[in-house]
Amino acid sequence: MSKVIVVTSGKGGVGKTTSAAAIGTGLALRGKKTVIIDFDVGLRNLDLIMGCERRVVFDFINVINDGIRLNQALIKDKRVDNLFILPTSQTRDKEALAAEGVAKVIEELRKDFDYIICDSPAGIERGAYMALYHADEAIVVTNPEVSSVRDSDRILGILNSKSKRAEHGDDPVKQHLLLTRYDLDRVQRGEMLKLDDVLEILAIPVLGVIPQCGSVLQASNLGMPVVLDDKSKAGQAYKDAVSRLLGEDVDLRYVTPQKRGLVDWLLRRSA
């Protein structure tokens, strides 16, 4: 049984591609045959985050419009077995995402893969609709910040009304919240929305909370999904999220303060 999962948010710059790369890689590490598709036509970045930008020959758009076979465009990851990337075009525009063409590619991928991760562009235009249309599940990437939460709510509405499942009257798209850039110190100072606030407003179950962490930028510098960085908090949090996606019951980390010694506490207050 293959699953199509869209990674979406409405708002840009919240960590969609980082999350799609991390979760796709995490699923492959767990032995699931996974492909990550870049739907951001014209602003191709997934290959860069995955570190395979020099290996792109053909892309998603070539498969849809130019008679290129799917396995000519799929890039096999060199670090993780079972992991493939379907890059998009940097030069074409979103109109090249013909609905029937996208449907055909998804259908073909469903035969061969356990998980098909669709990395959505920002916004609520054609690219975003195409990315979410075929979804069985949706990971809504949200920052604890007003505009991001509002846009996430908008996207949830679109998933409930414009997805294939909604149009066909099937079971609704299963929705998950992935709260990224979570800064526990700021939350505790009352400067940042806390997880419970966001959950109360969006009213969907939480898949994971990714702490604000320098390792995310470092990983993107290197073209390595952050989930491969075993020492990073963000990497661990993404691994936990993958476990939950697979139906395991894992406690949330980095959402409650760790007990600190007096010296540590004094240092933090004066910092």
Binding site: R189, M192, D197
Partner: protein
């Protein structure tokens, strides 16, 4: 300032609470379809003009409310008439 912050144990910046309050209102409004169709403000103004031909009412006394539902939506128009008119009717 840092030095004094050090002693303020219960320093409380509640901007997060403000954010939550604003979001709760906004999201509820968004979910009803952005507060109704675009013509609502114009409808409210024209209704007010018509009513004013007959009765002297304030701007704030006419309230147009739109509720989007599944299947049908309702448009509720509330006009609060001035006191003298009510008395006239009673007499």
């Amino acid at each position: 300032m840092r030095f004094f912050d050090f002693f303020r144990l219960s320093r409380r910046d509640d901007s997060a609470n403000k954010a939550k309050e604003r979001l709760t209102v906004l999201v509820a409004l968004d979910r009803t379809g952005g507060g109704g169709p675009d013509f609502l403000p114009l409808l409210q103004r024209e209704l007010l003009e018509v009513i004013r031909k007959y009765v002297d009412v304030d701007q704030e006394k006419v309230n147009v409310d739109f509720q989007a539902g599944t299947g049908f939506s309702t448009l509720e128009v509330n006009v609060e008439l001035p006191n003298q008119l009510a008395q006239l009717r009673a007499g």
